[in-house]
Symmetry: D2
Subunit: 367 residues, 4 copies
C-alpha cells in the first residue's frame, strides 16, 4: 500500500516540492557492494537539468545530488540510500495570483479538491521537479545493473514532437546527444527546432512522444499476473508528469494488425531463440523474451502557456489566467532522461525479484 513509493524489492520513495528546501529519493532494497558516488549520479542529473538550452526552462538549478546514507567507502552497504537535491533557485516571486487561481491543465485544482490545501508555489509536489529524484534513483539503479547484468543498455530518445515524427530509417543513436531534442534523426531535430521556435514565439507549447529501449535484458524478467514487466513499465511511465499514454512494442497500433502479421516467429540461433520481428516489444505474458524491451509514452503539451485561458478562483469565481514564468515549451524533451531512469529502476527491481523467487531455476532452451 504505497503512494510515494514504487518497486517490489528495489523500492524508491520520493519526497519534496518544487519550492521547498530540498527534494530527494529514499531507496530501499539496494544490492550491497555497488560502486557509486555523487559524480556518477550527477552525470544523469545533468542530462535532465533545466537551462541546458533555449528549449528548456531557464530556471537555473545546479541539481547537485548528495548521498546521505547507505554508501560507505564508495560502495552501497545494502541499507537505505538517501539521495538529496537542494533547491537553490527559489526566486522570491509573487505567488498571489496562482495561489487564488487554478491553472488549467495543472494539478492545482485537483490537489486543492483532494487535500483541502496546497503548496501553490510552482506546483508544489505536482511539479515536474519531482522527476529529478527519479533520475537520481535511476542513476543508482544503472550502477547496480552495470554490476549485476552488465549487458543491459538503456537508451531513450524523442520520436515525435507535435504531429512531426522522426523517421526510423534515419535513426542514428550517435545523434541523440548531438541535438537538444535527444533525437536519433538529425533532420527531424532540425525541423523540430524551427517548429518550436515558432510555437514559443506564439506563446504556445507542444506535446511529444518518447521511446525508451533496453537492450541486453535477459529472458525471464517479469512477474505475472499483476507485476508483469509491461504492467510495471506502464505504471512507471504513466506516473511521470504530463504522460497520457504508454505503449509496449507496437502499442496502440497492435489493434490494426492481424494475428499473422503480429506473430513474432521464433527460430533457434547460436545463442538461443531468435525472433523474426518484435511486435511484442520484448515482452510476452509479462515476461521478457530477451529481445529489446521497447516502451513509448506520450507527453502532453506544457500546460503553462503565455496564452490567456479561462479558469476559476478558489472562491469559485470565473476569471482568466496567463501562466508567465520560466517554462519549457515542450516538456517532453526533459522527460527523456526520466523515462530512462524509470526503465532502469524497473529492470533492476525485476532482476532482484526474479533472483529472489527463482534463483538459477529458470529454463534453458536446447540445454
Amino acid at each position: 500500500m504505497s503512494i510515494n513509493t514504487f518497486g517490489h524489492l528495489f523500492r524508491v520513495t520520493t519526497w519534496g516540492e518544487s519550492h521547498g528546501p530540498a527534494l530527494g529519493a529514499t531507496v530501499d532494497g539496494v544490492p550491497p557492494g555497488v560502486e557509486i558516488n555523487e559524480a556518477m549520479l550527477q552525470h544523469w542529473l545533468d542530462q535532465r537539468k533545466p537551462g541546458q538550452n533555449k528549449y528548456t526552462t531557464q530556471r537555473r538549478e545546479p541539481d547537485a545530488v548528495k548521498i546521505l546514507s547507505g554508501v560507505f567507502e564508495g560502495k552501497t552497504t545494502g541499507t537505505s540510500v538517501q539521495l538529496m537535491i537542494e533547491n537553490t533557485d527559489q526566486r522570491s516571486k509573487d505567488y498571489s495570483e496562482i495561489a487564488q487561481k487554478f491553472r488549467p491543465g495543472h494539478a492545482d485544482i485537483t490537489y486543492f479538491q483532494k487535500y483541502g490545501l496546497r503548496d501553490y508555489r510552482g506546483g508544489g509536489r505536482s511539479s515536474a521537479r519531482e522527476t529529478a529524484a527519479r533520475v537520481a534513483a535511476g542513476g543508482l539503479a544503472r550502477a547496480a545493473l552495470t554490476q549485476l547484468a552488465p549487458g543491459i543498455e538503456i537508451t531513450g530518445y524523442m520520436v515525435q514532437m507535435g504531429p512531426r515524427k522522426a523517421d526510423p530509417a534515419k535513426y542514428d543513436l550517435a545523434q541523440i546527444p548531438q541535438n537538444p531534442f535527444w533525437c536519433p534523426d538529425a533532420d527531424t531535430a532540425e525541423a523540430w527546432a524551427e517548429d518550436l521556435d515558432k510555437l514559443r514565439k506564439s506563446g504556445d507549447s507542444v506535446g511529444a512522444v518518447i521511446e525508451v529501449v533496453a537492450r541486453g535484458v535477459p529472458a525471464g524478467l517479469g512477474a505475472p499476473i499483476y507485476g508483469k514487466l509491461d504492467t510495471d513499465l506502464a505504471a512507471a511511465m504513466m506516473s511521470i508528469n504530463a504522460v497520457k499514454g504508454v505503449e509496449i512494442g507496437d502499442g496502440m497500433a497492435a489493434a490494426c494488425l492481424t494475428g499473422v502479421e503480429n506473430a513474432d516467429e521464433i527460430q533457434m540461433g547460436p545463442n538461443g531463440p531468435e525472433y523474426s520481428s518484435n511486435h511484442a516489444g520484448g515482452i510476452l505474458g509479462g515476461i521478457s523474451t530477451g529481445q529489446e524491451v521497447v516502451v513509448r509514452f506520450a507527453v502532453k503539451p506544457t500546460s503553462s502557456i503565455l496564452t490567456t485561458r479561462k479558469t476559476i478562483t478558489v472562491d469559485g469565481q470565473n476569471t482568466d489566467i496567463i501562466t508567465k514564468g520560466r517554462h519549457d515549451p515542450c516538456v517532453g524533451i526533459r522527460a527523456v532522461p526520466v523515462g530512462e531512469a524509470m526503465m532502469a529502476c524497473i529492470l533492476l527491481d525485476h532482476l532482484l525479484l526474479h533472483r529472489g523467487q527463482i534463483g538459477d531455476a529458470g529454463g534453458k532452451i536446447g540445454g
Copy 2:
C-alpha cells in the same frame, strides 16, 4: 502491485490456471455491509463467458462463481472474500504438441525460460481465463461502489477492430449490448461482423481497442506520485492479457496538440467546476477532476491462429506450428467486461484510500 495481487486497500489476489480444477480471486479490504450474492456476481461473469456468440471461443464454461468466505446473510463482513470458479470444460486433449513447442505470441516460451517448467495445458496461468477472476472481483467492487458512491457508472465498449474505427458521432450507449462487439455504433458493428467472418475463414485474427468510461467519479480520487489514478489504471489495463497500449483522455494523440488546444478551460457551474473539454480524460496530476474518467487500451490480435508459423521446441529444434482449438478471432471483444471490472476495482480502491487518508478534509471550491 505485487505479483498476483493488485490494489492498495481493496486488494485482489487471483489464482488458478485454465485447466486446473478451479480459479478465483481472494479479495481483501472489502468494506463491510455491502449487499452481495452469487447472482449479482454471475451477471457480470455471464458477460465475459465464452461461447456467447460465434465470435468468441466455443469452449463451454458456465463460469459459475461461488462465494466461499467473507459474506454472511447477504452482506460482506469486512473479512477476506473468496470467489471461486470451477473449470468444468477441461476436455481431454492431446497436449503433446504444445508441451514441446512454443506458440509464437504466447507466453509459453517466457514462462519456460522464467520458471524452468510450465503448465502447458491451454496456457496455464497465462491463459485469459484468469480474467474471469477479475470480473468476479469487479462485480464485488461495483456492488460496493453502488453503496458508497452511487453516482458512479462504468461503461466499456469496443471502438476499433483492426483498422476500422467506430464513429463517435454515431455512439448510442443503448446499442452496446445489442451487438456481439459491445459497440456503441451499430453501423460499425455490422461492418466488423463482416470483417471478422472473413478473417476467421482465412485462419487469421485481429486486434482491437477498448474504451472504458467512468461517469460520476467524485473529484479528488488518486494518490500522487506513484499511486496516481492514471498510473493505477494504466497498470490495471496493461495487466490484462494481450494489452499493448493504454491511453488516458487524448492518450498518444496528446503529443500532436499544442498547449492552447489541449487546455481544458474551467468555468464555475451550478454544482462546481465545469470544463470546456476533456483532453485530460478526467485526471489532472493523477487526481480525478470530476469529469468522465476515460481509459482506452489496445488488445493485440489473438496469437492462436490457424496459419502455420515458425517456432522452436523445448529442445531448441526449429519447427512450425498451427494452433488448433477453440479460439476467439478477436480476443478484444471479451476484454470489454474485463476492462470494466478493472476500472471498478481501481475506483473503489482509490475511494477507500482517499477516505482513509483524507476523510472529509477535501477542498470545496466556492464553499
Copy 3:
C-alpha cells in the same frame, strides 16, 4: 504485513470462516520446481486437526486440503498456489444466544464494533480454525525449504501449561510426538495430563507457552530495520489467535541480565563462528547468526469456558453467559503446529528476500 496477507516475497493470504463452506490460503511468490502434493500437506494438517485426543476439541473435521492451483505434475509452477480446506462439521446448531451476546475474551464484541455486523457462527473469521490455512501454507514452505536450504529443521513444543514448566534438563525431542502436549519432557507431560483433567472437570481452561526452534538456519537472513527476522517472527506469532507475548532467545528475562552475562562470546570453529551461548536466540540486529533461532509465545487460556461470566448483549443489556460446546481446555496445545508453520513461512520468505537483494554477495569470515 497487510490485513489478510503476510510475507514480503513468499506471501500468504488466508480466507474463510469457521462455519462457511471452506477456508484456505492463497500463496504467492512460491519458488518453482518444488515437489509437493496433497499428502505432504496433509501430514502437517493432521498434527493440528481437532479431535486427536481428549484434550482437544471434539469437533470432527478431516481438514482435508486440496491444491487448486500453482502445482503441475507434482511440482510448483511459480504461480499462485491455492490451498483449500472444506468445512464439513458445521453441525446445525442454535446460534441465537451467541448471536445476541458477546462472549468475554472473544473477538465477538470488537468485530461488531469494528464492522457493524459479524458472522457469529463459532467465531467466524476470528476462529482459530483460520490457523488450518496457515498450517497448509507452512507445509508448502517446508517443502520449499527442504529443497532450497535442506539443513533447516523446525521443531515446536510446549514448555509451560499454567504455572507448571517443563524442565529443560529433561528435554528429549523424541518425546514430543509421544504425548498429547507436544512436550519434550515426559514427566511434565504426565503432570500436565493430571492438571488438565482437573481443570476440564471444573469447567475451566488454562494458558500455555510454546517454543519453536529452527536449526540449520544460515547466517545472514533478516532484513533490517523493519523487516528484521525477529520483527517478522514477532508479528507472525502474535498474529496467532490468543497469543499475548512473544520472546526471542532470553526474551523478557533479558531485562534481568547484565551485559557481561548476556554477551554471547564468539570463537572460530572449524565451520565458522561459534558462540559460547545463545541469549540472543540466534538473531543479532535482526539478522540470523547461524545459531538456533529460538522463539517462544504465550497463549492465553481458552476463553470458551463452562463457567458463567458477566457480559452484555448487542442491545447493551447486562446478562451472563456460559460458552457450551466443543472447546479445547488448553488451546495452546494445538498452537504448536501453527507456530512451526509460521516459522517455516517466515524463514522461506527471508531466504528468498536475501537471495533477491544479496545473491552470493554475503561475507565469508576467514574466507
Copy 4:
C-alpha cells in the same frame, strides 16, 4: 512491514547511519491539514537525545530536526514529509579495531555475513541512532492524532531494570519526567540510580522492561488477521534495537492463568461497554476494545561494555575486545520515547486504515 518501511497507510521509511552526514524519516500517507512545525517535533526528540544525564551516552548531539517537505505554512499538505536530523558529533576516532573485530552482542558480525561489507563506524545502520528518526515520525503521528482522535494519550515508562521491578501500587504518572529513568515509582527510581552507579563502575550494563500505555483509543481499531493491532505493535516494538520480548496485556504471564481468571467480564456503562479487568491489554481478536492498550517490551543490556569478551576478527582469528567509548549503561532508558513514538505511528496508521475500509459503518452497542 518491508525492510526500511513500516505502516499500511501512514508509512514511515527511515534512512541513515550513526556516523554518516544525516539520518531521517520519509513519511507517507500523512493526513493533510495537520498543524506541525519543527519545534513540535523537537520536543519529542529532546526526550530521546543523548547526554541528558549521567545514565545516558555522553555523545553530544543536538538532534535538531528539519522538515524538508510535505508541510506548507505550518500544515501538512498530504504529500510525503521528509524529516532530517544531521549528525554533528562524528568525532574523529580510530575505528581500526572495530573495523576488524566483531563486537559480541552487536550486529557487526551479522551485517558482515549478510552484506559482505559494513559501515563499521559506531554500528552504522544498526546503531540505535536510527531511533531518532522514529521519534521524529512519532511526533508527526502524535500531532495528527491530536487532531483526528484528540482523546488519545500515550504514556511510556520503565517498569523494570535488571531484576528490580517498579511497584504498580506506587505508580504516579506525574513522577515519570521527574527522574532519569522515566519511572512512575519514585522509590524504585532511587534504587535504580544506586544499582546503575554500581554497574557502571564495574564496566557492566543491564537490561530493562518498558511499558507503553495508550488511553482513549476508540474501540474498533485493528485489521485482522495479519494486520492485528497487537501484531503490528509486536512488530513495531520488536524492531527497536536490543528488544527481545513483547507483551500485550498480561503477556507471557497469561500462560499461568485459568480461563476464569483471565476473563475480562463486560458490563454496560453510561458510555458503552465496561470491563471488570484488562488482562487482554485492550485488544481482542486484534481489535481495540476501548480500554487502555498496554504493551511491554524487554530491552537487553547494552552490548558495549568495558569488560573484555572473546571474539573473532574478519579474518577468522580468535581475539578479545573491550568496547570503549560513550555508551548508555542501560540502553532501555532511552527506549521509552522510542516506544511511545512507535505506539503513536501504529495507532494513527490503524485509525486511517479503519476510516478507509469502514468509514462510519462500525457497530454501536445499545444504539
